[in-house]
Protein backbone atom coordinates (compact mmCIF):
# COMPACT_ATOMS: atom_id res chain seq x y z
CA UNK A 1 0.00 0.00 0.00
CA UNK A 2 2.84 2.33 0.92
CA UNK A 3 4.57 1.77 -2.39
CA UNK A 4 1.32 2.55 -4.19
CA UNK A 5 0.87 5.79 -2.28
CA UNK A 6 4.32 6.92 -3.24
CA UNK A 7 3.44 6.96 -6.93
CA UNK A 8 2.67 10.59 -7.67
CA UNK A 9 -0.50 9.79 -9.56
CA UNK A 10 -1.79 7.51 -6.81
CA UNK A 11 -4.38 9.85 -5.27
CA UNK A 12 -5.87 10.66 -8.67
CA UNK A 13 -6.00 6.99 -9.60
CA UNK A 14 -7.68 6.21 -6.31
CA UNK A 15 -10.33 8.85 -6.83
CA UNK A 16 -10.80 7.60 -10.37
CA UNK A 17 -11.21 4.07 -9.08
CA UNK A 18 -13.77 5.06 -6.48
CA UNK A 19 -15.58 7.14 -9.07
CA UNK A 20 -15.67 4.29 -11.54
CA UNK A 21 -17.01 1.95 -8.86
CA UNK A 22 -19.85 4.32 -8.07
CA UNK A 23 -20.57 4.94 -11.74
CA UNK A 24 -20.87 1.29 -12.67
CA UNK A 25 -22.07 -0.34 -9.48
CA UNK A 26 -24.01 2.28 -7.57
CA UNK A 27 -25.65 4.49 -10.19
CA UNK A 28 -28.45 5.47 -7.81
CA UNK A 29 -25.86 7.29 -5.71
CA UNK A 30 -24.56 9.42 -8.56
CA UNK A 31 -26.35 12.61 -7.43
CA UNK A 32 -24.95 12.17 -3.93
CA UNK A 33 -21.49 11.54 -5.34
CA UNK A 34 -21.71 14.66 -7.50
CA UNK A 35 -22.63 16.67 -4.45
CA UNK A 36 -19.66 15.22 -2.57
CA UNK A 37 -17.30 16.07 -5.42
CA UNK A 38 -18.56 19.65 -5.60
CA UNK A 39 -18.37 20.19 -1.85
CA UNK A 40 -14.95 18.56 -1.77
CA UNK A 41 -13.59 21.28 -4.04
CA UNK A 42 -15.04 23.86 -1.65
CA UNK A 43 -13.57 22.17 1.42
CA UNK A 44 -10.18 21.84 -0.29
CA UNK A 45 -10.25 25.56 -0.96
CA UNK A 46 -10.94 26.02 2.75
CA UNK A 47 -8.01 23.75 3.52
CA UNK A 48 -5.69 26.14 1.70
CA UNK A 49 -6.58 28.88 4.13
CA UNK A 50 -7.13 26.87 7.31
CA UNK A 51 -4.82 23.88 6.98
CA UNK A 52 -1.92 25.40 5.08
CA UNK A 53 -2.32 29.05 6.00
CA UNK A 54 -3.43 28.54 9.57
CA UNK A 55 -6.25 31.07 9.35
CA UNK A 56 -9.47 29.73 10.86
CA UNK A 57 -12.38 31.25 8.94
CA UNK A 58 -16.15 30.85 9.25
CA UNK A 59 -17.02 33.04 6.28
CA UNK A 60 -15.83 30.92 3.39
CA UNK A 61 -19.30 30.26 1.99
CA UNK A 62 -19.36 33.88 0.83
CA UNK A 63 -16.90 32.86 -1.88
CA UNK A 64 -18.80 29.71 -2.78
CA UNK A 65 -22.10 31.53 -3.04
CA UNK A 66 -20.58 34.38 -5.02
CA UNK A 67 -19.32 31.88 -7.58
CA UNK A 68 -22.69 30.16 -7.64
CA UNK A 69 -24.71 33.34 -8.20
CA UNK A 70 -22.27 34.67 -10.78
CA UNK A 71 -22.38 31.46 -12.78
CA UNK A 72 -26.17 31.37 -12.52
CA UNK A 73 -26.50 34.98 -13.64
CA UNK A 74 -24.13 34.36 -16.54
CA UNK A 75 -26.15 31.36 -17.68
CA UNK A 76 -29.39 33.29 -17.27
CA UNK A 77 -28.44 36.52 -18.99
CA UNK A 78 -25.59 35.72 -21.30
CA UNK A 79 -24.46 32.24 -22.14
CA UNK A 80 -25.05 28.79 -20.66
CA UNK A 81 -21.55 27.63 -21.60
CA UNK A 82 -20.48 25.68 -18.51
CA UNK A 83 -16.72 26.09 -18.79
CA UNK A 84 -17.09 29.83 -19.13
CA UNK A 85 -19.40 29.69 -16.12
CA UNK A 86 -16.68 27.97 -14.10
CA UNK A 87 -14.10 30.58 -15.07
CA UNK A 88 -16.39 33.48 -14.28
CA UNK A 89 -17.46 31.87 -11.02
CA UNK A 90 -13.87 31.34 -10.04
CA UNK A 91 -12.90 34.87 -10.96
CA UNK A 92 -15.74 36.36 -8.93
CA UNK A 93 -14.78 34.24 -5.93
CA UNK A 94 -11.17 35.33 -6.23
CA UNK A 95 -12.18 38.98 -6.50
CA UNK A 96 -14.38 38.92 -3.43
CA UNK A 97 -11.66 37.06 -1.54
CA UNK A 98 -9.01 39.57 -2.53
CA UNK A 99 -11.15 42.58 -1.64
CA UNK A 100 -12.29 41.22 1.70
CA UNK A 101 -8.82 39.89 2.38
CA UNK A 102 -7.35 43.39 2.16
CA UNK A 103 -9.42 44.17 5.23
CA UNK A 104 -9.68 40.99 7.27
CA UNK A 105 -6.15 39.66 6.84
CA UNK A 106 -4.75 42.49 8.91
CA UNK A 107 -6.20 40.78 11.95
CA UNK A 108 -5.52 37.49 13.67
CA UNK A 109 -7.13 34.97 15.97
CA UNK A 110 -10.66 35.50 17.25
CA UNK A 111 -10.87 38.97 15.69
CA UNK A 112 -10.07 37.56 12.26
CA UNK A 113 -12.61 34.78 12.74
CA UNK A 114 -15.36 37.20 13.73
CA UNK A 115 -14.57 39.49 10.83
CA UNK A 116 -14.86 36.64 8.35
CA UNK A 117 -18.26 35.85 9.84
CA UNK A 118 -19.28 39.49 9.49
CA UNK A 119 -18.19 39.71 5.85
CA UNK A 120 -20.08 36.50 5.09
CA UNK A 121 -23.24 37.74 6.74
CA UNK A 122 -23.01 41.13 5.05
CA UNK A 123 -22.73 39.50 1.64
CA UNK A 124 -25.63 37.16 2.37
CA UNK A 125 -27.80 40.07 3.42
CA UNK A 126 -26.89 42.02 0.31
CA UNK A 127 -27.89 39.06 -1.84
CA UNK A 128 -31.17 38.85 0.04
CA UNK A 129 -31.83 42.55 -0.42
CA UNK A 130 -31.24 42.58 -4.15
CA UNK A 131 -33.84 39.97 -4.83
CA UNK A 132 -34.49 41.33 -8.31
CA UNK A 133 -31.10 39.93 -9.25
CA UNK A 134 -30.81 36.94 -6.97
CA UNK A 135 -34.36 35.80 -6.55
CA UNK A 136 -34.12 36.32 -2.78
CA UNK A 137 -35.58 33.53 -0.70
CA UNK A 138 -36.92 31.79 -3.79
CA UNK A 139 -33.46 31.47 -5.24
CA UNK A 140 -32.05 32.06 -8.68
CA UNK A 141 -33.37 29.66 -11.28
CA UNK A 142 -34.58 29.38 -14.83
CA UNK A 143 -31.15 28.96 -16.33
CA UNK A 144 -29.81 25.90 -18.04
CA UNK A 145 -26.41 24.44 -18.52
CA UNK A 146 -25.30 23.85 -22.08
CA UNK A 147 -23.39 20.86 -23.37
CA UNK A 148 -19.99 20.54 -21.83
CA UNK A 149 -17.42 21.01 -24.56
CA UNK A 150 -20.36 20.52 -26.88
CA UNK A 151 -20.37 16.87 -25.94
CA UNK A 152 -23.16 15.87 -23.62
CA UNK A 153 -26.20 17.37 -21.97
CA UNK A 154 -27.10 16.57 -18.42
CA UNK A 155 -29.18 13.46 -18.14
CA UNK A 156 -31.79 12.69 -15.54
CA UNK A 157 -29.74 9.92 -13.97
CA UNK A 158 -26.96 12.35 -13.25
CA UNK A 159 -24.24 10.49 -15.16
CA UNK A 160 -22.95 13.46 -17.07
CA UNK A 161 -23.10 15.68 -14.01
CA UNK A 162 -21.08 13.14 -12.06
CA UNK A 163 -18.38 12.88 -14.70
CA UNK A 164 -18.28 16.66 -14.98
CA UNK A 165 -17.94 17.17 -11.21
CA UNK A 166 -15.34 14.45 -10.81
CA UNK A 167 -13.34 15.85 -13.70
CA UNK A 168 -13.34 19.34 -12.23
CA UNK A 169 -12.45 17.87 -8.82
CA UNK A 170 -9.40 16.11 -10.22
CA UNK A 171 -8.22 19.18 -12.08
CA UNK A 172 -8.67 21.43 -9.04
CA UNK A 173 -6.90 18.90 -6.82
CA UNK A 174 -3.97 18.83 -9.20
CA UNK A 175 -3.80 22.63 -9.39
CA UNK A 176 -3.96 23.04 -5.65
CA UNK A 177 -1.29 20.42 -5.06
CA UNK A 178 1.01 22.24 -7.46
CA UNK A 179 0.28 25.56 -5.84
CA UNK A 180 1.07 24.36 -2.34
CA UNK A 181 4.05 22.33 -3.53
CA UNK A 182 5.70 25.43 -4.92
CA UNK A 183 8.04 27.82 -3.16
CA UNK A 184 5.01 30.05 -2.54
CA UNK A 185 3.19 27.18 -0.84
CA UNK A 186 6.19 26.50 1.34
CA UNK A 187 6.30 30.15 2.39
CA UNK A 188 2.62 30.03 3.34
CA UNK A 189 3.20 26.99 5.52
CA UNK A 190 6.13 28.82 7.08
CA UNK A 191 3.95 31.84 7.80
CA UNK A 192 1.39 29.59 9.44
CA UNK A 193 3.93 27.88 11.66
CA UNK A 194 6.19 30.78 12.57
CA UNK A 195 5.57 34.31 11.36
CA UNK A 196 8.56 35.67 13.21
CA UNK A 197 10.91 33.30 11.44
CA UNK A 198 9.44 34.18 8.04
CA UNK A 199 9.79 37.90 8.68
CA UNK A 200 13.39 37.25 9.65
CA UNK A 201 13.90 35.56 6.26
CA UNK A 202 12.60 38.62 4.46
CA UNK A 203 9.13 37.32 3.59
CA UNK A 204 6.46 39.96 3.07
CA UNK A 205 3.62 38.34 4.97
CA UNK A 206 0.50 40.27 3.94
CA UNK A 207 0.99 39.88 0.18
CA UNK A 208 1.53 36.13 0.57
CA UNK A 209 -1.58 35.68 2.68
CA UNK A 210 -3.64 37.80 0.32
CA UNK A 211 -2.49 35.71 -2.65
CA UNK A 212 -3.35 32.51 -0.80
CA UNK A 213 -6.75 33.88 0.15
CA UNK A 214 -7.37 34.96 -3.44
CA UNK A 215 -6.55 31.52 -4.80
CA UNK A 216 -8.76 29.97 -2.18
CA UNK A 217 -11.57 32.23 -3.38
CA UNK A 218 -10.89 31.17 -6.97
CA UNK A 219 -11.41 27.49 -6.16
CA UNK A 220 -14.35 28.15 -3.84
CA UNK A 221 -15.98 30.15 -6.65
CA UNK A 222 -15.45 27.29 -9.07
CA UNK A 223 -17.10 24.92 -6.61
CA UNK A 224 -20.05 27.29 -6.31
CA UNK A 225 -20.36 27.64 -10.08
CA UNK A 226 -20.29 23.87 -10.43
CA UNK A 227 -23.04 23.56 -7.86
CA UNK A 228 -25.16 26.11 -9.69
CA UNK A 229 -24.71 24.36 -13.03
CA UNK A 230 -25.48 20.90 -11.73
CA UNK A 231 -28.47 21.86 -9.58
CA UNK A 232 -29.67 24.61 -11.92
CA UNK A 233 -30.72 26.67 -8.95
CA UNK A 234 -28.89 28.88 -6.47
CA UNK A 235 -30.27 29.64 -3.02
CA UNK A 236 -29.26 32.01 -0.24
CA UNK A 237 -27.98 29.05 1.74
CA UNK A 238 -24.95 28.98 -0.56
CA UNK A 239 -23.87 32.14 1.27
CA UNK A 240 -24.89 31.02 4.75
CA UNK A 241 -23.02 30.58 8.00
CA UNK A 242 -24.22 26.98 8.24
CA UNK A 243 -22.36 26.05 5.06
CA UNK A 244 -19.17 27.69 6.32
CA UNK A 245 -19.43 25.87 9.65
CA UNK A 246 -20.20 22.51 8.02
CA UNK A 247 -17.26 22.90 5.67
CA UNK A 248 -14.95 23.50 8.60
CA UNK A 249 -16.27 20.38 10.34
CA UNK A 250 -15.80 18.35 7.14
CA UNK A 251 -12.24 19.58 6.85
CA UNK A 252 -11.43 18.76 10.41
CA UNK A 253 -13.01 15.31 10.28
CA UNK A 254 -10.79 14.35 7.39
CA UNK A 255 -7.68 16.14 8.57
CA UNK A 256 -6.48 19.55 7.49
CA UNK A 257 -3.28 20.33 5.66
CA UNK A 258 -3.07 17.73 2.91
CA UNK A 259 -6.08 18.35 0.65
CA UNK A 260 -6.82 14.62 0.63
CA UNK A 261 -8.20 14.90 4.13
CA UNK A 262 -10.60 17.51 2.83
CA UNK A 263 -11.96 15.08 0.27
CA UNK A 264 -12.21 12.25 2.77
CA UNK A 265 -13.88 14.43 5.37
CA UNK A 266 -16.40 15.73 2.87
CA UNK A 267 -17.28 12.21 1.75
CA UNK A 268 -17.63 11.03 5.34
CA UNK A 269 -19.73 13.95 6.56
CA UNK A 270 -22.01 14.09 3.53
CA UNK A 271 -22.63 10.36 3.54
CA UNK A 272 -23.46 10.35 7.24
CA UNK A 273 -25.71 13.37 6.80
CA UNK A 274 -27.49 11.68 3.91
CA UNK A 275 -27.94 8.31 5.58
CA UNK A 276 -28.93 9.64 8.99
CA UNK A 277 -31.32 12.24 7.60
CA UNK A 278 -33.42 9.49 6.03
CA UNK A 279 -34.21 8.35 9.55
CA UNK A 280 -34.67 11.76 11.18
CA UNK A 281 -33.41 15.13 10.02
CA UNK A 282 -31.63 15.69 13.34
CA UNK A 283 -29.93 12.35 13.75
CA UNK A 284 -26.82 13.21 11.77
CA UNK A 285 -26.03 15.73 14.50
CA UNK A 286 -25.73 12.87 16.96
CA UNK A 287 -23.25 11.01 14.82
CA UNK A 288 -21.11 13.97 13.81
CA UNK A 289 -21.33 15.48 17.29
CA UNK A 290 -20.17 12.22 18.83
CA UNK A 291 -17.35 11.95 16.32
CA UNK A 292 -16.12 15.42 17.12
CA UNK A 293 -16.36 14.90 20.86
CA UNK A 294 -14.65 11.51 20.81
CA UNK A 295 -12.08 12.67 18.31
CA UNK A 296 -10.94 15.35 20.72
CA UNK A 297 -11.16 13.39 23.95
CA UNK A 298 -9.33 10.37 22.63
CA UNK A 299 -5.80 11.49 21.88
CA UNK A 300 -4.77 10.76 18.34
CA UNK A 301 -1.71 12.19 16.68
CA UNK A 302 -3.78 12.91 13.63
CA UNK A 303 -5.57 15.63 15.58
CA UNK A 304 -2.23 17.00 16.73
CA UNK A 305 -1.19 17.42 13.14
CA UNK A 306 -4.39 19.31 12.29
CA UNK A 307 -2.95 22.79 12.35
CA UNK A 308 0.42 21.76 11.00
CA UNK A 309 0.53 21.19 7.29
CA UNK A 310 2.74 18.52 5.85
CA UNK A 311 4.74 20.19 3.12
Amino acid sequence: MNAFMRIKAAPYLLIGLVGATIYFFFPAQLPLASRIATLAIFVMSLDLVVGYGGLATLGHSALFGTGAYTAGLLALHSTPNPLLGLLVGGASGATVAALSGLFVLRYQGLTFLMLTIAVGQIIQNIASKFRAWTGGDDGLSGFTTAKILGLATFDLQGRVAFLYCTGVLLICLWMMRRLMGSAFGLACIGIHQNRLRMAALGTEIQPKLLTLYGFSGWFAGIAGALSAQVNQIVGLDTLGFELSAEALVMLVLGGAGSLFGAIAGTALFTTIHHVASNVDPYHWLFVIGAMLVCGVLIPRERWGALMRARP
Binding site: R178, L179, G181, S182, A183, F184, G185, L186, A187, I189, G190, H192, Q193, N194, L196, R197, M198, A199, A200, L201, G202, T203, E204, I205, T211, A305, R308, A309, R310, P311
Partner: protein
Protein backbone atom coordinates in the same frame (compact mmCIF):
# COMPACT_ATOMS: atom_id res chain seq x y z
CA UNK B 1 55.86 70.14 -1.41
CA UNK B 2 52.25 71.05 -1.50
CA UNK B 3 51.04 69.73 1.84
CA UNK B 4 47.44 70.17 0.91
CA UNK B 5 47.86 67.45 -1.72
CA UNK B 6 49.20 65.12 0.90
CA UNK B 7 46.49 66.09 3.35
CA UNK B 8 43.68 65.64 0.88
CA UNK B 9 45.02 62.19 -0.07
CA UNK B 10 46.40 61.00 -3.34
CA UNK B 11 43.16 59.47 -4.65
CA UNK B 12 40.75 61.98 -3.27
CA UNK B 13 39.44 63.30 0.00
CA UNK B 14 40.48 61.32 3.08
CA UNK B 15 38.12 58.49 3.82
CA UNK B 16 37.11 58.03 0.18
CA UNK B 17 38.76 54.62 0.10
CA UNK B 18 37.18 53.57 3.33
CA UNK B 19 33.78 52.03 2.53
CA UNK B 20 30.71 53.01 4.53
CA UNK B 21 30.06 50.99 7.65
CA UNK B 22 27.61 48.18 6.90
CA UNK B 23 25.70 49.04 10.06
CA UNK B 24 25.55 52.34 11.85
CA UNK B 25 23.39 53.43 14.73
CA UNK B 26 23.14 57.06 15.74
CA UNK B 27 21.72 58.05 19.11
CA UNK B 28 19.12 55.36 19.30
CA UNK B 29 16.60 55.73 22.11
CA UNK B 30 13.55 53.76 23.24
CA UNK B 31 11.33 53.76 26.28
CA UNK B 32 8.40 51.63 27.36
CA UNK B 33 5.97 53.61 29.42
CA UNK B 34 8.18 55.50 31.79
CA UNK B 35 11.10 53.15 31.55
CA UNK B 36 14.01 54.21 29.32
CA UNK B 37 15.26 50.93 27.92
CA UNK B 38 17.67 52.28 25.34
CA UNK B 39 19.58 55.50 25.92
CA UNK B 40 21.37 57.41 23.24
CA UNK B 41 23.27 54.50 21.73
CA UNK B 42 25.62 54.98 18.81
CA UNK B 43 27.92 52.47 17.18
CA UNK B 44 29.33 51.49 13.83
CA UNK B 45 30.13 48.13 12.38
CA UNK B 46 32.31 47.58 9.34
CA UNK B 47 32.59 44.65 6.96
CA UNK B 48 34.49 41.78 8.46
CA UNK B 49 34.31 43.28 11.93
CA UNK B 50 33.21 41.17 14.88
CA UNK B 51 31.60 43.16 17.62
CA UNK B 52 30.66 41.65 20.93
CA UNK B 53 27.85 43.12 22.98
CA UNK B 54 27.82 42.29 26.65
CA UNK B 55 26.00 43.59 29.66
CA UNK B 56 24.14 42.46 32.72
CA UNK B 57 20.61 41.14 32.45
CA UNK B 58 18.06 43.80 31.73
CA UNK B 59 20.64 46.06 30.13
CA UNK B 60 18.59 46.25 26.95
CA UNK B 61 20.64 44.05 24.63
CA UNK B 62 17.79 42.20 22.94
CA UNK B 63 15.83 45.45 22.72
CA UNK B 64 18.74 46.92 20.79
CA UNK B 65 18.68 44.00 18.37
CA UNK B 66 14.93 44.42 17.95
CA UNK B 67 15.42 48.12 17.22
CA UNK B 68 18.06 47.36 14.60
CA UNK B 69 16.02 44.66 12.89
CA UNK B 70 12.84 46.69 12.84
CA UNK B 71 10.76 44.64 15.26
CA UNK B 72 10.59 47.78 17.41
CA UNK B 73 10.42 51.39 16.31
CA UNK B 74 12.84 53.75 18.08
CA UNK B 75 11.63 56.86 19.83
CA UNK B 76 14.73 58.71 18.69
CA UNK B 77 17.82 58.10 16.60
CA UNK B 78 18.49 56.39 13.29
CA UNK B 79 19.59 53.05 11.98
CA UNK B 80 21.70 52.99 8.80
CA UNK B 81 22.36 49.94 6.66
CA UNK B 82 25.14 50.58 4.15
CA UNK B 83 24.73 54.31 4.83
CA UNK B 84 21.02 54.22 4.00
CA UNK B 85 18.49 55.33 6.59
CA UNK B 86 16.25 52.34 7.22
CA UNK B 87 14.07 53.74 10.02
CA UNK B 88 10.94 53.54 7.93
CA UNK B 89 11.57 50.01 6.67
CA UNK B 90 9.89 46.88 7.97
CA UNK B 91 11.69 43.76 9.15
CA UNK B 92 11.48 41.94 5.81
CA UNK B 93 12.63 45.04 3.95
CA UNK B 94 15.72 45.32 6.15
CA UNK B 95 16.48 41.65 5.59
CA UNK B 96 16.41 42.32 1.86
CA UNK B 97 19.03 45.02 2.44
CA UNK B 98 21.47 42.60 3.95
CA UNK B 99 20.52 42.26 7.60
CA UNK B 100 20.08 38.83 9.18
CA UNK B 101 19.61 37.69 12.75
CA UNK B 102 19.31 34.62 14.92
CA UNK B 103 16.98 34.43 17.90
CA UNK B 104 17.71 33.90 21.55
CA UNK B 105 14.93 31.30 21.61
CA UNK B 106 15.11 29.42 18.32
CA UNK B 107 12.39 30.36 15.90
CA UNK B 108 11.77 27.71 13.27
CA UNK B 109 8.69 26.28 11.56
CA UNK B 110 8.18 23.06 13.55
CA UNK B 111 7.49 20.59 10.75
CA UNK B 112 9.42 22.00 7.79
CA UNK B 113 12.57 19.96 7.23
CA UNK B 114 16.01 21.49 7.66
CA UNK B 115 16.75 21.31 3.95
CA UNK B 116 13.47 22.98 3.00
CA UNK B 117 14.07 25.67 5.61
CA UNK B 118 17.40 26.57 4.06
CA UNK B 119 15.97 26.34 0.54
CA UNK B 120 13.22 28.71 1.64
CA UNK B 121 15.84 31.23 2.69
CA UNK B 122 17.58 30.89 -0.67
CA UNK B 123 14.28 31.31 -2.54
CA UNK B 124 13.64 34.48 -0.54
CA UNK B 125 17.06 35.80 -1.44
CA UNK B 126 16.63 34.83 -5.10
CA UNK B 127 13.16 36.20 -5.44
CA UNK B 128 11.83 32.81 -6.52
CA UNK B 129 9.72 32.56 -3.36
CA UNK B 130 6.81 33.99 -5.32
CA UNK B 131 6.76 31.18 -7.88
CA UNK B 132 3.33 29.53 -7.81
CA UNK B 133 3.88 26.65 -10.13
CA UNK B 134 7.28 25.03 -10.02
CA UNK B 135 7.64 22.33 -7.37
CA UNK B 136 10.20 23.02 -4.65
CA UNK B 137 11.87 19.80 -5.72
CA UNK B 138 12.52 21.19 -9.19
CA UNK B 139 15.23 23.70 -8.33
CA UNK B 140 18.51 21.74 -8.55
CA UNK B 141 20.74 24.82 -8.09
CA UNK B 142 18.91 25.79 -4.94
CA UNK B 143 19.08 22.28 -3.57
CA UNK B 144 22.82 22.06 -4.26
CA UNK B 145 23.49 25.38 -2.57
CA UNK B 146 21.36 24.43 0.44
CA UNK B 147 23.16 21.12 0.83
CA UNK B 148 26.54 22.82 0.61
CA UNK B 149 25.60 25.18 3.43
CA UNK B 150 24.49 22.23 5.54
CA UNK B 151 27.73 20.44 4.72
CA UNK B 152 29.78 23.47 5.67
CA UNK B 153 28.14 23.43 9.08
CA UNK B 154 28.41 19.63 9.23
CA UNK B 155 24.66 19.16 9.58
CA UNK B 156 23.88 17.53 6.25
CA UNK B 157 22.61 14.46 8.11
CA UNK B 158 19.80 16.60 9.52
CA UNK B 159 18.52 17.58 6.07
CA UNK B 160 15.28 15.60 6.14
CA UNK B 161 14.50 16.18 9.79
CA UNK B 162 12.08 18.80 11.04
CA UNK B 163 13.00 21.02 14.01
CA UNK B 164 10.74 19.20 16.45
CA UNK B 165 13.03 16.18 16.15
CA UNK B 166 16.25 18.14 16.61
CA UNK B 167 18.27 18.82 19.73
CA UNK B 168 18.45 22.43 20.85
CA UNK B 169 22.03 22.91 19.68
CA UNK B 170 21.15 21.46 16.29
CA UNK B 171 18.21 23.86 15.95
CA UNK B 172 20.60 26.70 16.69
CA UNK B 173 22.78 25.50 13.83
CA UNK B 174 19.81 25.46 11.47
CA UNK B 175 19.22 29.10 12.39
CA UNK B 176 22.84 29.89 11.58
CA UNK B 177 22.47 28.02 8.28
CA UNK B 178 19.45 30.16 7.46
CA UNK B 179 21.36 33.30 8.24
CA UNK B 180 24.21 32.21 5.97
CA UNK B 181 21.79 31.30 3.17
CA UNK B 182 20.51 34.85 3.12
CA UNK B 183 24.04 36.07 2.27
CA UNK B 184 23.71 39.08 4.52
CA UNK B 185 26.22 41.88 5.05
CA UNK B 186 25.44 42.08 8.74
CA UNK B 187 24.56 39.22 11.06
CA UNK B 188 23.13 39.79 14.51
CA UNK B 189 23.58 36.81 16.81
CA UNK B 190 21.34 37.00 19.87
CA UNK B 191 22.96 34.80 22.52
CA UNK B 192 23.82 31.88 20.24
CA UNK B 193 24.81 29.81 23.27
CA UNK B 194 21.60 30.42 25.21
CA UNK B 195 19.94 27.23 26.25
CA UNK B 196 22.53 25.05 24.56
CA UNK B 197 23.58 22.18 26.84
CA UNK B 198 27.25 21.85 27.72
CA UNK B 199 27.77 18.79 25.56
CA UNK B 200 26.46 20.57 22.42
CA UNK B 201 28.43 23.79 22.86
CA UNK B 202 31.24 22.76 20.59
CA UNK B 203 29.02 22.26 17.56
CA UNK B 204 27.75 25.82 17.83
CA UNK B 205 31.30 27.08 18.39
CA UNK B 206 32.55 25.26 15.30
CA UNK B 207 29.70 26.71 13.25
CA UNK B 208 30.55 30.23 14.39
CA UNK B 209 34.12 29.69 13.25
CA UNK B 210 32.86 28.83 9.78
CA UNK B 211 31.02 32.08 9.24
CA UNK B 212 32.29 33.97 6.19
CA UNK B 213 35.14 36.34 7.14
CA UNK B 214 33.77 39.34 5.23
CA UNK B 215 30.52 39.20 7.22
CA UNK B 216 30.06 41.91 9.83
CA UNK B 217 28.86 40.30 13.04
CA UNK B 218 27.31 41.70 16.18
CA UNK B 219 27.07 39.05 18.87
CA UNK B 220 25.27 39.30 22.18
CA UNK B 221 26.51 36.80 24.69
CA UNK B 222 26.82 36.09 28.37
CA UNK B 223 29.52 33.55 27.72
CA UNK B 224 32.62 35.66 28.43
CA UNK B 225 35.12 33.11 27.17
CA UNK B 226 33.36 32.96 23.83
CA UNK B 227 33.06 36.71 23.47
CA UNK B 228 36.60 37.51 24.39
CA UNK B 229 37.89 34.91 21.93
CA UNK B 230 35.50 35.73 19.13
CA UNK B 231 35.18 39.51 19.11
CA UNK B 232 37.57 42.05 17.66
CA UNK B 233 35.86 44.76 19.64
CA UNK B 234 33.48 44.73 22.59
CA UNK B 235 30.86 47.17 23.68
CA UNK B 236 29.27 47.05 27.08
CA UNK B 237 25.67 47.94 27.76
CA UNK B 238 24.32 48.70 31.20
CA UNK B 239 20.87 50.09 31.99
CA UNK B 240 20.29 50.88 28.35
CA UNK B 241 23.39 52.99 27.85
CA UNK B 242 26.82 52.35 26.40
CA UNK B 243 29.23 51.89 29.23
CA UNK B 244 32.40 51.12 27.32
CA UNK B 245 33.72 50.39 23.86
CA UNK B 246 37.09 48.88 23.15
CA UNK B 247 39.24 45.87 22.44
CA UNK B 248 38.72 42.75 24.55
CA UNK B 249 41.83 43.54 26.52
CA UNK B 250 40.71 47.07 27.31
CA UNK B 251 37.26 45.93 28.34
CA UNK B 252 38.62 43.16 30.51
CA UNK B 253 40.45 45.70 32.61
CA UNK B 254 37.94 48.55 32.40
CA UNK B 255 37.05 49.61 35.95
CA UNK B 256 33.46 50.66 35.26
CA UNK B 257 32.76 47.40 33.48
CA UNK B 258 34.21 45.41 36.31
CA UNK B 259 31.97 47.27 38.72
CA UNK B 260 28.88 46.76 36.60
CA UNK B 261 29.55 43.08 36.24
CA UNK B 262 31.48 41.99 39.24
CA UNK B 263 30.13 44.31 41.88
CA UNK B 264 31.69 47.15 43.80
CA UNK B 265 34.27 45.33 45.81
CA UNK B 266 36.19 43.67 43.03
CA UNK B 267 39.67 42.35 43.05
CA UNK B 268 41.55 44.05 40.18
CA UNK B 269 43.57 40.92 39.68
CA UNK B 270 40.53 38.74 39.28
CA UNK B 271 40.12 37.84 35.62
CA UNK B 272 36.77 38.52 33.93
CA UNK B 273 35.87 35.10 32.72
CA UNK B 274 32.73 33.05 32.66
CA UNK B 275 34.03 31.04 35.59
CA UNK B 276 34.52 34.16 37.68
CA UNK B 277 31.09 35.46 36.86
CA UNK B 278 29.55 32.11 37.66
CA UNK B 279 31.15 32.12 41.04
CA UNK B 280 29.53 35.38 41.92
Amino acid sequence: MNLSVLQSGFFGPPGALVPDPVLEIRRLGKSFGGLQVTRDISLTLNAGERLGLIGPNGAGKTTLINLITGVLMPDSGTVYLNAVNVNGLSQPQRVKRGLARTFQITQLAPTITTLLHVEMAIHERNGSIGNLWRSVDAYPEVRVEAMSILEMLRIESLAQRPPITLAYGEQRLVEIALAIALRPRVLLLDEPMAGVPERERHIVLNALERLPPELAILMIEHDMDLIFNFAHRIIVLAEGALLADGSPKEIRNHPAVRIAYLGLASNPDEPMTTATLDRR
